[in-house]
């Protein structure tokens, strides 16, 4: 087993990895920018290395600095968390060249799934249903018109190097097509350095349903059920739940079986998430994330599988800790991402957290690096922490979530707790009847 893991991330996920390593008896190295010197995981790790100034480019994305930190501490593996370099094939490749294990998939698989056009092509080859769309990148405007006619309006133009909801343009009719194409191309070039775009049918009221998979790199893969992440604001997930209120056991087993087989055939290594849009009983593959996801805790709560420990074990050449037959779903879990933002304008609110008292009790889990006296830096994301509740069934979760939100004390910065409190008063939320547009429509009304 690894002697020492370097945690190449920050905030709550760095703390999550720190905890897993500690439980496994693995020493940890916390790397941090100067702005994160007082981070909770830095205080708890065995060693820490300051890797740069506040800017992410010069610190958490600074590959030479991270490599040097591995070198001076003798770390034999790196856990990249999520975001930052977690889906950077080059980083994975460089670590491999330096005999440091990247806890994640192979650079080849990261690169393949990072190219959204290739990912979709691969999904088709692996037998997954996909959103009807262009076969690969769009060429000339004339090509576009022809493809668009096949795909049908309204449609989406998506950046091949995008993902996570970024770099998408809606086109409602042929008149809008030319302008949307050029806008999409120039935005894609600016944001991702690649102006390749493809087209997909626009689904009007889909749910976002994603499946958690785990694979050992030797052709064995399982799925751990789905998560419903339909409640999003500007393509950022805000509230996730497992299992989805919209699926039954039959659909779960069918699609779960499909993705597990796909990943086994693919020869994938590590954890990953296959994201679908689900509408009118049909599943449509949109992308695969080759890393741990923010919302992984809700899957952990209902399956009992520690996904970070699983990642570490697998990266070390170990077997999956459960077989598909042994996977069972117990109860229901909901996660709320609590941000340091104004709850109505969503303007970021970094600063000093003067009072902090998280909720507790049965079935309440907080994944957060924040503490009273901690200063939330302005340079990174505004996530204060994740509030996760677990219950025997969805209704118990909802009651527990309301109770937990009411107890949560965070003073000194604005938080989105009031947003969740108001969501819990909406009949649609109580009934689990929402799609990916629901939250923005709700926010527009209020």
């Amino acid at each position: 087993m690894f002697d020492k893991i370097l945690i190449a991330n920050r905030g709550e996920i760095a703390l999550r990895v720190q905890r897993a390593c500690r439980e496994m008896g693995i020493a940890t190295v916390a790397v941090h920018s100067t702005a994160d010197e007082d981070a909770m995981h830095v205080r708890l790790a065995n060693e820490s290395v300051c890797i740069g100034p506040p800017s992410a480019t010069d610190s958490y994305l600074n590959i030479p600095s991270l490599l040097a930190a591995c070198e001076i501490t003798g770390a034999d593996a790196v856990h990249p968390g999520y975001g930052f370099l977690s889906e950077n094939a080059r980083f994975a490749e460089i670590l491999r060249e330096h005999d440091v294990t990247f806890i994640g998939p192979t650079p080849e698989h990261i690169a393949l799934m990072g190219d959204k056009i290739e990912a979709k092509r691969t999904a088709v080859e692996l037998g997954l249903p996909v959103v009807p769309g262009s076969d690969g990148a769009i060429g000339s405007d004339n090509d576009a018109i022809a493809v668009a006619r096949d795909v049908g309006y309204p449609l989406l133009i998506k950046a091949s190097s995008g993902g996570g909801g970024r770099g998408m343009q809606i086109v409602r009719s042929q008149d809008e097509l030319s302008l949307a194409l050029s806008t999409a191309r120039s935005e894609a070039l600016a944001a991702f350095g690649d102006d390749a775009v493809y087209m997909e049918r626009y689904l009007s009221k889909p749910r976002h349903i994603e499946f958690q998979i785990v694979a050992d790199g030797r052709g064995n893969a399982i799925h751990l059920g789905e998560r419903d992440c339909s409640l999003q604001r500007r393509h950022q997930k805000v509230w996730e739940e497992a299992l989805s209120p919209a699926l039954n056991a039959q659909e779960r087993d069918r699609v779960g079986g499909l993705v597990a087989k796909a990943m086994a055939d693919f020869g994938y290594l590590g954890v990953g998430t296959i994201e679908f849009l689900f509408e009118d009983g049909e599943f449509y593959f949109i992308e695969m994330n080759t890393r741990l996801q923010v919302e992984h805790p809700i899957t952990e709560m209902i399956t009992g599988v520690d996904l970070v420990q699983e990642q570490i074990r697998i990266a070390n050449g170990g077997n999956l800790s459960v077989s598909q037959d042994e996977v069972s779903y117990d109860g229901h879990a909901i996660e709320c991402r609590i941000n340091a933002e104004n709850p109505t304008t969503f303007r970021p609110s970094p600063g000093l957290v003067e009072a902090y008292h998280p909720p507790g009790g049965l079935g309440v889990r907080i994944d957060s690096g924040v503490y009273a006296g901690y200063r939330i830096p302005p340079y990174y994301d505004s996530l204060i922490g994740k509030l996760i509740v677990f219950g025997k069934h969805r209704n118990e979760c909802l009651m527990r979530l309301r109770r937990a939100l009411d107890e949560f004390v965070i003073e000194g910065v604005e938080t989105t707790i009031p947003l969740f409190q108001s969501l819990l008063m909406q009949p649609d939320i109580m009934n689990g009847e929402y799609d990916i547009h629901w939250l923005e429509e709700f926010l527009a009304e209020t």
């Binding site: 065995n46 820490s48 300051c50 890797i51 100034p53 040097a68 070198e71 001076i72 330096h98």
Partner: protein, 150 residues
């Protein structure tokens, strides 16, 4: 680099400084494990803390000597990168800039090695080396105080 004991040391220094004031002494020195702290003041100046590590190990983790003064002092050269610091061009050769050396801005004062590349660290300004805060072969992190050039 590893700061497991940092906050305790600061509290201790604060305590000693308060004790100094209370007792009207001008100097207190205490030794604790492998750490020795001397707190001194002149009648008109505020208490100054000087901390000298009794034993310095290369193995991490270990208590980091608190360079409470050095970090903020004008003339401090902080590390621009992560790596292993060497004070001389190669083993056995004389160091670039031992205490007392007059250096010009741009002169190499030490080397930081990372991934088999030797990076020459230049003096950011002209002056005299009054303190070298690290030892040859020490691992250093970004922002770590390396030496003082006044």
């Amino acid at each position: 680099m590893s700061r497991s004991k940092k906050s305790i040391d600061q509290d201790l220094i604060r305590e000693l400084a308060a004790l100094l004031k209370e007792t009207e002494l001008s100097e207190i020195e205490v030794e604790q494990d492998d750490l020795r702290i001397r707190v001194a003041r002149t009648l008109t100046a505020a208490p100054a803390a000087l901390q000298v590590p009794v034993a310095r190990t290369d193995a991490l983790p270990g208590p980091l000597p608190v360079e409470a003064d050095a970090a903020g002092k004008p003339g401090t050269v902080n590390s621009p990168m992560v790596g292993t610091a060497y004070l001389s061009p190669s083993p056995g050769t004389p160091p670039f800039a031992p205490v007392g050396t007059e250096v010009k801005e741009g002169d190499t004062v030490l080397i930081i090695e990372a991934m088999k590349t030797m990076n020459h660290i230049p003096a950011p300004h002209t002056g005299k080396v009054t303190a070298v805060l690290i030892e040859n072969g020490d691992p250093v992190e970004f922002g770590e105080p390396l030496m003082i050039i006044e």
